[in-house]
Symmetry: C2
Subunit: 109 residues, 2 copies
């Protein structure tokens, strides 16, 4: 995954990929000192396996449908819904339908 | 502005308010240890005056159109565009059209 560093103050397009979704891959939108924002792309049935990060995160479903597994609980995240997770919480994410999402991570400081 | 504390792992609706936009007010969606996410609502012509926060932030325009002023530069932020700003950068935000936005702030730690 190559990391493009957007400049502070520069607009970044985060609209749905729609018909172009199938051609997209996950990519970092920017990484700064405190924050990293990733545009996650997952095809239906694919998963980001169980993992954890030390900082707090938000996951915002831009299109499609995700299932987020935390502590044995499964929560659907539809387009236009946002979830935040405390730091160090093991979680996995599975696409129920082809999906893209914004993942915002607070980096270790 | 009352602060509703969403629980970690709970879906939060961030779809456009559309026809209901005129009835909405700015509100915090959640505030945790490292992150605060605010749904900012600004009527056309209204501004959030010049200010700065110590942590890095992102501003994601959900609907309408914003103008973000930083260092004497003016940048339009359309629905579906996201901007990040380094910490301690003075900025102001003016609605060009009735708008709502997600503002994500890294809190002091």
């Amino acid at each position: 995954m190559s990391i493009a560093h957007a400049l502070s103050g520069e607009p970044i397009d985060v609209t749905p990929y729609d018909a172009r979704l199938g051609e997209q891959r996950s990519a970092a939108l920017f990484k700064s000192e405190q924050l990293e924002v990733i545009r996650l792309v997952l095809s239906a049935g694919k998963s980001m396996p169980m993992h954890k990060v030390s900082g707090e995160i938000t996951i915002q479903c831009i299109e499609g449908e995700l299932d987020v597994q935390v502590d044995g609980n499964s929560t659907r995240l539809l387009a236009g819904q946002l979830m935040f997770l405390l730091g160090s919480v093991p979680h996995s994410v599975t696409a129920i339908a082809n999906a893209s999402a914004l993942v915002t991570l607070v980096l270790n400081q």
